[in-house]
């Protein structure tokens, strides 16, 4: 298992180096980032000055070497908009986003796991229909739309919950539920089908034939096996949550990374865009690595295989 984890760790580092390369070239897709960053009314001379100021006039390999050596130290230069080190800005925004993402995930797990398990254990029942319905809603309702509906219903019409900001304890409810809707649907679907499938396995029949009672079978066999795909899905969902936070944080004026992405992209603040992109990828890659570790701990088949 140590060898497996070591090779996964090496892969993750290589992946992150690749992400740095990717991010460098993404911003240069059109060839001239200075033209994109300059205001529309800027003259050719203004653009040339900006190009020189940002160092975009140097040969590409030089720019790359400079960017790469900075990036691996976490130095992405200064944000054009905030006139402050980009990475420091990103780090100050991180807690708000983590708070939002974890709340959304918590909501999705707390509602999704029981609903999926109950639905899967009683196929055809009303709980099963509910589980399938929630699964479908999660996949078909865009989070930016449901966020607007929530604001309309709970903030504008009922006045129960705040529609923006991150001040009061209840200001996280609407953003977290909007963001958690998609993972909720995924988790319900996954748990339902996992439980349905596991119930038909030979080892469950064997357990029943040995006279083990229902509760023990569910705890020792069904849950434990259903937890394997769940863990790997949670890792994947975390990446989705960071992406989905772009809309949700913009709508609810939540002061996190997602809103910073939307703002920096709109302002063509490329140093900041690059810092956010590399940093969120770092978080996602780290989460995937942790997921694999958890996976190996839960499932002995993986632990002993490699």
């Amino acid at each position: 298992m140590q060898r497996y984890l070591l090779s996964r760790a090496v892969q993750s580092v290589l992946l992150l180096l690749g992400v740095i390369v990717l991010v460098f070239f993404l911003v240069r897709l059109t060839g001239d980032p200075a033209r994109l960053m300059a205001p529309r009314e800027a003259s050719a001379q203004d653009i040339a000055e900006l190009r020189a100021l940002m160092g975009y006039d140097r040969p590409l390999p030089v720019q790359f070497a400079d960017f790469f050596s900075g990036a691996i130290r976490g130095d992405f230069g200064n944000s054009v908009h905030y006139r402050a080190p980009a990475m420091a800005l990103v780090v100050t925004r991180l807690p708000a986003t983590v708070e939002l993402a974890l709340s959304a995930l918590l909501f999705a797990v707390l509602v999704g796991v029981p609903l999926g398990v109950i639905g899967g254990s009683n196929p055809g029942s009303i709980w099963d229909s509910l589980a399938r319905g929630v699964g479908l809603i999660g996949q078909t309702v865009p989070n930016f739309w449901i966020a607007l509906i929530f604001i309309l219903v709970f903030s504008v019409n009922l006045g129960w919950l705040p529609s923006f900001g991150r001040g009061h304890w209840n200001s996280i409810v609407l953003p977290a539920v909007s963001l958690g809707l998609f993972p909720l649907g995924q988790i319900v679907r996954l748990m339902r089908s996992a439980v349905l499938e596991i119930r038909g396995e030979d080892y469950i029949r064997t357990a029943y034939s040995k006279g083990i009672n229902d509760r023990r079978i569910y705890v020792a066999h069904v849950f434990r096996n259903a937890a394997i795909p769940l863990v790997s899905m949670l890792g994947v969902q975390f990446g989705y949550l960071l992406g989905g936070s772009i809309y949700i944080e913009t709508i609810f004026a939540w002061p996190g990374l997602g809103r910073m992405i939307a703002e920096s992209v709109a302002a063509r603040d490329f140093p900041l865009v690059q810092a956010v992109a590399v940093f969120t990828s770092l978080v996602v890659v780290a989460m995937n690595l942790l997921t694999d570790v958890a996976y190996a701990l839960i499932d002995p088949r993986i632990r002993y295989d490699k």
């Binding site: 290589l14 992946l15 992150l16 690749g18 992400v19 990717l22 991010v23 993404l26 911003v27 897709l29 059109t30 980032p33 994109l36 479908l136 996949q139 078909t140 309702v141 865009p142 930016f144 739309w145 607007l148 509906i149 604001i151 309309l152 504008v156 349905l196 499938e197 038909g200 990446g239 989705y240 960071l242 992406g243 989905g244 772009i246 809309y247 913009t250 709508i251 992405i261 939307a262 992209v265 709109a266 063509r268 865009v273 956010v276 992109a277 969120t280 990828s281 996602v284 890659v285 995937n288």
Partner: protein
């Protein structure tokens, strides 16, 4: 559940087609199709999904005949007129008007064109790239496989929406750009699925048997691997299409999709957001169109997966 042809309820079926070894290719396709039709008729969700989806396709194709007004025609005297069933609404503008007095219904009808174009073409590009690279990676193995999968995993490591948003901001707003962005950034997913299936099928007993009787690479590719790839790829394509329609609307919401002159659901949502409290229909109705489309494709996709994935079929889900 009743079978179509009257057959003895019990006892072995002695007709020649019952023997899988004697069954020819045409018979297999015909049986698959008739099985599919039967499943579609039996499965309410699949039928509903297909119907919803067909409504959207119909709206996109015949938009000029369905729309009541020119979707771009402004009339500031009719700014944010309520839908027909509310006070102050009229059936001339059944879903009301937006802030520039343009007919919401006509704009939603025309908006389906953007969504479906992005969904269809985006998935077609992603699928084509993914199929070719996935086959190459799965067949070649070794260094080629490492390079292709390294690239695919790289794209999959960055949050998808982040790549899309950054690229969209860099390349600028146009329909072609949006289609290309989704087509290229979604390809790694198809690469991964294709490669995984190729490896799985290559290691299967029936391919081993085919190799043992002397089948060449081409025969294994066309007779065994490609037919088995159709199911998983079409199923994923359906869900990805629905996802792309989401993402396109999301990009529009951030002001990064097609230019504001083209009516699209995302652009409409974005434009209506500031009037959410006073005239909610401007922002919320385009969302119903998105949900309608996504619901159709997801229900249809679920059904498609049941039909095309024989492993699930055998379990009698």
């Amino acid at each position: 559940m009743t079978s179509e042809q009257p057959q003895p309820a019990s006892g072995p079926d002695l007709s020649p087609s019952a023997d899988p070894l004697l069954e020819d290719e045409r018979g297999r396709v015909r049986r698959a199709l008739s099985y599919g039709a039967k499943l579609l008729l039996r499965d309410k969700g699949g039928m509903i999904g297909l119907s919803l989806f067909m409504v959207v396709v119909f709206a996109a194709i015949f938009a000029p005949y369905i729309a009541l007004h020119n979707p771009l025609q402004q009339d500031l005297t009719r700014s944010r007129q309520p839908p027909a069933w509310r006070d102050g609404g009229s059936w001339e503008y059944p879903l009301g008007t937006d802030s520039l007095g343009r007919d919401m219904f006509s704009r939603i009808v025309y908006g389906s064109r953007v969504s479906l174009t992005v969904g269809f073409l985006g998935v077609a590009i992603a699928l084509s790239i993914g199929l070719v690279l996935g086959l190459v990676a799965g067949f070649a193995g070794g260094r080629v496989d490492n390079v292709i999968m390294g690239g695919a995993n790289l794209f999959l490591a960055v949050p998808y929406l982040l790549i899309v948003v950054v690229v969209a901001a860099v390349v600028g707003r146009s329909l072609v750009n949006v289609v290309l962005i989704f087509g290229i950034t979604d390809a790694p997913l198809f690469v991964r699925i294709t490669r995984g299936e190729v490896l799985r099928i290559r290691n299967s007993g029936y391919v081993e048997s085919a190799v043992a009787i002397g089948a060449g690479r081409a025969r294994i590719l066309f007779d065994h691997i490609l037919p088995n790839l159709v199911g998983p790829l079409i199923t994923v394509a359906t869900f990805e299409m629905s996802a792309m329609i989401f993402y396109e609307a999301g990009l529009g919401f951030l002001g990064l999709s097609v230019p504001p002159t083209i009516p699209s659901w995302g652009n409409m949502l974005a434009a209506g957001r500031q009037y959410l409290a006073s005239t909610p229909w401007v922002a919320t109705y385009p969302g119903f169109a998105i949900i309608f489309t996504a619901l159709g494709m997801n229900l249809f996709g679920d059904w498609l997966r049941d039909v095309l994935d024989p492993r699930l079929r055998r379990k009698g889900r």
